[in-house]
Amino acid sequence: MKFTSVFDIIGPVMIGPSSSHTAGAARIGRVARDLFGRQPKWAKIHLYGSFAETYRGHGTDVAIVGGLLNYDTFDDRIKTAFEDAKKAGLEYEFIPETANTEHPNTARLVIGDDEGEMSVVGISIGGGKIEVSEVNGFKLRLTGGMPAILVVHDDRAGCIANVANCLAMHEVNIGHMEVSRIERGLTALMVIEIDQNIEDKVLQQISLIPHITKVSKINN
């Protein structure tokens, strides 16, 4: 079941004009920011398919930038996101692409600051609902509808168990988990959907586990 809540159907409350091109776009921006863990200083926003063809008229551009500024779908400030970004020191660039993607509404956000950068691919599947299909080159499926944590780690035995143990210690229940790696023995990514938002101190503890290189979270 892709759509689980009645509020996926009756909702979201949002700034028009398009749930997939405006609200979904804002959510993709916001999830990317959540995963990055802080306000990025720059963003290269690649748009594919229908996003690339119609982003100006749909406000997809202001919505994604609004999302990067942590605005929700119904935040009236989406309309002034470009000016707000300037004030917040966020530079952005839109790059419409011609390549065909699996889903017609796809955006690849490459965001960063002096400390690092991150690449997030989001797709808008309709009615304001989104999925994250790739993070830093790792394929995954993340709906953004559940709180989740992403753990980048070395592909070593015991890493997954150590993270699971740490969550268990804090009585955090795992709803769904996926592990993917680009190449065996190198870097891997755990995507863990959990039942409730977790505190930063738990993330901090996970990040101290050997072979863990980066931890980020999506609240819901």
Binding site: T4, V6, I9, I10, S18, H21, A23, E53, P104, G126
Partner: protein, 302 residues
């Protein structure tokens, strides 16, 4: 995931066996899936209802979109109703004007509640606030209207699509019209089975509807399609309440919609490459907006 219903047949059977309304089954499923309390869920829907009401009020005062392509038609319709000359009937035209009002606000980047999407956000509230004047529902019944709509939308979203880019406008305005029809029937005192008949009759008549927005914007023909979706749902609701049934069962109609969407050319699925978007005027409008800086050049066109 464990859900109470996967399709309309299961939804109707459960409602009938337990002697409950469709809206009640949807509320129970929401509690089951999210673990939130009934009170929290009702409150959130109450807030969505308020957003819908405010959007209609704003639209009925007259709004204009950024491009200037849409706006002001809801006001024209209300003025026409007041003249007492309506041929189709005041309630029907009231629903049409309120659907248009919502979509005009949406096109103007105002605040709306997507039902199921922003492009199709007019049908469910438009019909609700028109029928309200006739049936005088309580606030609770109005909230239930949205849960009933949501139950049918839930089935479509999971078994077909509610995205114009994936399934054409039938998936957006078509789904919205079916959802509204089912909710009208429940509010008017019809049975769960009659809700299902109304949904099926409505969606059957929206099948094959292409998504061909001019310049890719949620304006032309989206606003007027919401108007027609609203009228379609009222007629279908009346038919179902009169005892008319759909020869093709509801779930099979939804399946047909899914397959039609799959076989539709990408040109007709929100890419602005076909249909009305590809007419000479459609292309001229698109060029004026996307290349020549919008509003002023559009006005010059008219």
């Amino acid at each position: 995931m464990d859900v109470l219903f996967h399709n309309v047949r299961e939804l109707v059977e459960r409602a009938e066996q337990e002697g409950k309304l469709i809206s009640e089954i949807m509320i129970e499923q929401e509690i089951l899936i999210t673990g939130r309390t009934r009170e929290e869920i009702i409150q959130q829907m109450d807030r969505n209802l308020t957003v819908m009401e405010e959007a209609i009020e704003r639209g009925l005062q007259g709004v204009q979109s950024v491009t200037g392509l849409t706006g002001g038609d809801a006001v024209l319709l209300q003025n026409y109703i007041k003249q007492g000359k309506s041929l189709a009937g005041d309630l029907l035209l009231d629903a049409v004007s309120k659907a248009v009002a919502t979509n005009e606000v949406n096109a103007a980047m105002g605040t709306i509640c997507a039902t199921p999407t922003a492009g199709s956000a007019g049908v469910v509230p438009g019909t609700l606030f028109a029928v309200k004047n006739k049936l005088n529902p309580t606030r609770e019944q109005m909230i239930r209207y949205l849960f009933t709509s949501g139950a049918f939308g839930f089935v479509v979203a999971n078994n077909a699509s509610i995205s114009g880019a994936a399934g054409g406008c039938q998936a957006e305005v078509g789904s919205a019209a079916g959802m509204a029809a089912a909710a009208i029937v429940e509010m008017a005192g019809g049975t769960p089975q009659q809700c299902s008949e109304a949904f099926a009759i409505t969606l059957k008549n929206m099948l094959g509807l292409v998504c061909d927005p001019v310049a890719g914007l949620v304006e032309v023909p989206c606003v007027k399609r919401n108007a027609m979706g609203a009228s379609n749902s009222l007629v279908a609701a009346d038919m179902a309440l009169a005892g008319v049934t759909s020869r093709i069962p509801c779930d099979e109609v939804i399946g047909a919609m899914y397959r039609i969407g799959q076989s539709m050319s990408p040109n007709l699925k929100e890419t602005a490459r076909g249909g009305l978007a590809a007419t000479p005027t459609g292309k001229a409008i698109s060029k004026a907006i996307l290349e020549n800086g919008g509003l002023q050049s559009i006005k010059a066109l008219q």
